[in-house]
């Protein structure tokens, strides 16, 4: 995946953060206000950005999936 690994992991980290803030708001806000639904909306927008990064990264050959053939050695007799 090369250096593009880092922006991908950064966005993944931001997604986890927005989800985690949703977890606290679920417990704290008692269903009042729009803070939970807003944090979950951020979550889905960031996820779409991440998916688009992967697709466009692959189209422009910046990132590629790991397609290494699984390594093994012959069994030791």
């Amino acid at each position: 995946m090369g250096f593009m690994k880092f922006p991908v992991l950064l966005v993944l980290g931001l997604i986890v953060l927005s989800l985690a803030s949703g977890m606290f708001l679920l417990a704290k806000d008692d269903g009042k206000g729009n803070r939970l639904v807003t944090s979950l909306t951020f979550r889905i927008i960031l996820s779409l950005i991440l998916f688009a990064m992967l697709i466009f990264g692959a189209i422009f050959n910046v990132i590629e999936p790991n397609t290494l053939t699984p390594s093994a050695v012959p069994a030791v007799k």
Binding site: M1, K5, V8, L9, L12, I15, V16, L19, G22, M23, F24, L26, A27, D30, G31, K32, N34, L36, V37, L40, T41, R43, I44, S47, L48, L50, F51, L54, A58, I63, P65, N66, T67, L68, T69, P70, S71, A72, V73, P74, A75, V76
Partner: protein
């Protein structure tokens, strides 16, 4: 406490004695005994497992039904609502740690222990004495190739399509959530219906993908450490998708009955958060298992 306080004003709601814990105990007992019998080849073991699942389903249906009934008849105070939220918070925490453990083991295997077998790191001596022909890389079939050679699932096949499906379901769910918040019941019901349908499609695709991987690709649970981590991570995720879709289906049924208001909708928010969580776990899998 003053005796003039009525039951609904009392911060602590004490429910009536309930048969459900005993039914739950019987269900778990049947499941465990059934599993133990069938592992040991006793004929009626699988029948006991079926009985256990039926009892479990009956218990969930009945117990949650009672809770919904109590809620709808106005027995719950803000304190009860808060205790549901605290319960969900800790349940979510346990789920986070559950998946963090599996992702952690993937990291440990990939970046630490397979490296030792390949001759780097502080246990590199393993390589010198036991696995000297082994070249460390990921994926690996393991030094002894016990499960035979296997091929990888194509990232651009079902995994990418399933990512698109789950992301769409996240969108439809968020749309439903805003519908609930803006008191638009039609939007809530339509959004939830689409989310559940997308969840079911995801599970069907995943089952087909497993059949393909097990058959044509020879990627099995025995395919070294790659196969076991692959199926543990994606399998537990798939199980969570099924649970999440069941929760959302129950929430959809309740939405159709008009149970949720702009202020009283904890069940919706709990199930919705859970679905977002399942969605994020999949993104983690897509990036860390299928891509890297």
């Amino acid at each position: 406490m003053s005796s003039s306080v009525s039951a609904s004003d009392d911060p602590y709601y004490i429910p009536e004695p309930s048969p459900w814990p005993i039914v739950a105990m019987l269900a778990i007992f049947s499941l465990l005994m059934g599993a133990a019998f069938s592992i040991n080849g006793v004929g009626f073991g699988s029948l006991l497992i079926v009985v256990g699942f039926v009892l479990l389903g009956y218990m969930f249906f009945g117990w949650f039904g009672d809770v919904v009934e109590e809620n709808m008849s106005g027995k719950y105070s803000g304190q009860v609502d808060n205790s549901f939220r605290q319960g969900m918070f800790w349940f979510i925490s346990s789920e986070l740690f559950f998946f963090a453990t599996f992702f952690g083991s993937l990291y440990y295997i990939r970046n630490i222990s397979v490296e030792w077998l390949g001759g780097t790191g502080y246990l590199a001596a393993t390589h010198e004495f036991i696995t000297s022909q082994f070249v460390s890389q990921w994926p690996t079939a393991g030094p002894l190739n016990l499960g035979g050679s296997f091929a990888l699932v194509n990232t651009w096949g079902v995994p990418a399509i399933n990512t698109a499906i789950l992301l769409s379901s996240g969108l439809t769910l968020t749309w439903a959530h805003w519908g609930l918040k803006n008191e638009n019941r039609k939007q809530l019901i339509r959004g939830l219906t689409m989310t559940v349908v997308l969840g079911v499609i995801f599970v069907i695709m995943q089952i087909q993908e497993y059949a393909h991987a097990y058959g044509a690709l020879n990627l099995t649970l025995e395919s070294g450490v790659y196969g076991s981590t692959f199926y543990l991570l994606t399998g537990f995720h798939g199980f969570h998708v099924i649970v999440g879709a069941l929760m959302l289906a129950a929430v959809l049924g309740r939405s159709m009955k008009g149970h949720f208001t702009e202020e009283n909708h904890f069940a919706f928010e709990a199930a919705a958060w859970y679905w977002h969580f399942v969605d994020v776990v999949w993104l983690g899998l897509f990036v860390l298992v299928y891509w890297m």
